[in-house]
């Protein structure tokens, strides 16, 4: 649950106040709703580190892309995919 992977903010949904500010975030093509309340300065196109559905910081684009590439290479992305799909970790 402490695993975090950067995702790219595709579209910010203007919900009714800052508590609910959220966005469609793409994790290497997998789109999920992510809350942006804790990164008020985040804009579309930014990469954010997401912990259990909440973005906690903005990451440099190049760094984020490298991280995603690397995480896929070492096979940790599968575990993350299981988590965001609400599946159990592998035995």
């Amino acid at each position: 649950m402490c695993l975090a992977i950067p995702g790219k903010i595709e579209k910010i949904d203007n919900t009714f106040d800052e508590t609910f500010r959220s966005a469609k975030v793409s994790f290497d093509g997998i789109i999920r709703d992510v809350n942006l309340m804790m990164v008020p300065e985040a804009v579309e196109g930014d990469y954010v580190m997401v912990h259990v559905g909440v973005a906690l910081n903005i990451v440099d684009k190049e760094e984020a892309e490298q991280t995603i590439k690397y995480i896929k290479e070492i096979g940790e992305f599968d575990e993350f995919e299981r988590q965001i799909n609400g599946q159990l970790p592998e035995e």
Binding site: M1, C2, L3, A4, D17, T19, F20, R32, D33, N35, M37, M38, V39, P40, M49, H51, V52, G53, V54, L56, N57, V59, D60, E63, Q66, T67, Y70, E73, I74, E79, R82, Q83, I84, N85, G86, Q87, L88, P89, E90, E91
Partner: protein, 366 residues
Amino acid sequence: MKYLDEFRDPELAKKYIGLIKGITTKPWTIMEICGGQTHSLVKNGIIDVLPKEINMVHGPGCPVCVTPVHLIDKAVFLAKQENVILCSFGDMIRVPGSVMSLAKAKSEGASVKVVYSPLEAVTIAQKNPEKEVVFFAVGFETTAPANALSVIQADKMGVKNYSILTSHVLVPPAMEAILGAEDNKIQGFLAAGHVCTVMGYEEYFSIAKQYKTPMVVTGFEPLDLLQGIYMLVKQLEEGRIDVENQYSRIVKREGNVEAQKTIFEVFEIKDRDWRGVGTISNSGYEIKEKYSQYDADKKFAIKIEKAEENAECIAGEILKGNKKPFECIHFGKKCNPEHPLGAPMVSSEGACAAYYHFSSDVFELM
């Protein structure tokens, strides 16, 4: 190192391994707090490439592992209620309670749902107004902002059928409990990068000073860990006591202030029981009075006898770093991921699971 070629930057990794070897003149015992780092250290064979003098000891930073059996029993009790949907992170589902795990409860018909985020649980509550939805809110400071935010959102939207069962633990008090123990052997700490993303590392300076123990805030990738270990060994060898930040591309000294505000809107700091460790004062979050209607413990007035931890599992010794997984007589025999005696063998962040899955040395030692 079997995986060296797979590193983000193999050349840089080799360089750091060389640097660590070059500066190490005496034995040092270093603890990484975070279970994610334990997983990475073991899985990527980093422990095998460090000089023999460096003893990496694995700390209690696996939220699944330190959740007391009593809390799992409560979650199982709630899941079995006719009108309750119990939502949880996937990591908690297979952890044994005193009678059964949530997985077993589910197989017996209880309503257990795995979610990625507590915010999903709030949505489930909205969609099922006739049901009570309880989110099993475990974790360290990393998951606390999301858990607190779920309560704030439920409150703002008037979702009265949502509540959380909290088992929130904090890293700095656990560090102090370890450093303050009479038989403490830890000489340096790798501080957990993602916990510090939220909380910053201001409060680590006084702990480092008081216990004369240097610290380095460190990330999760193999290269991060090698850099963090190098920075820490350099401090130790030079006799410096400082708090340094290897993970500065993610972690700011003050952390995420918005996230901290959210946490303290909902939670206050209270004593907490840690599985296998006991009560550590001021080491956890509880829901403040003003949000008590979202506190599942109060809402359902759960009365369950406190069960004993499984005596065969030495989780406490493992989590305090006093023993390595392969020093347990049941490791890999009576206790394995299919039939775990305790949480450290279940969780992907548990030290026992990491050694079971990834450490080639372990079976030579058995």
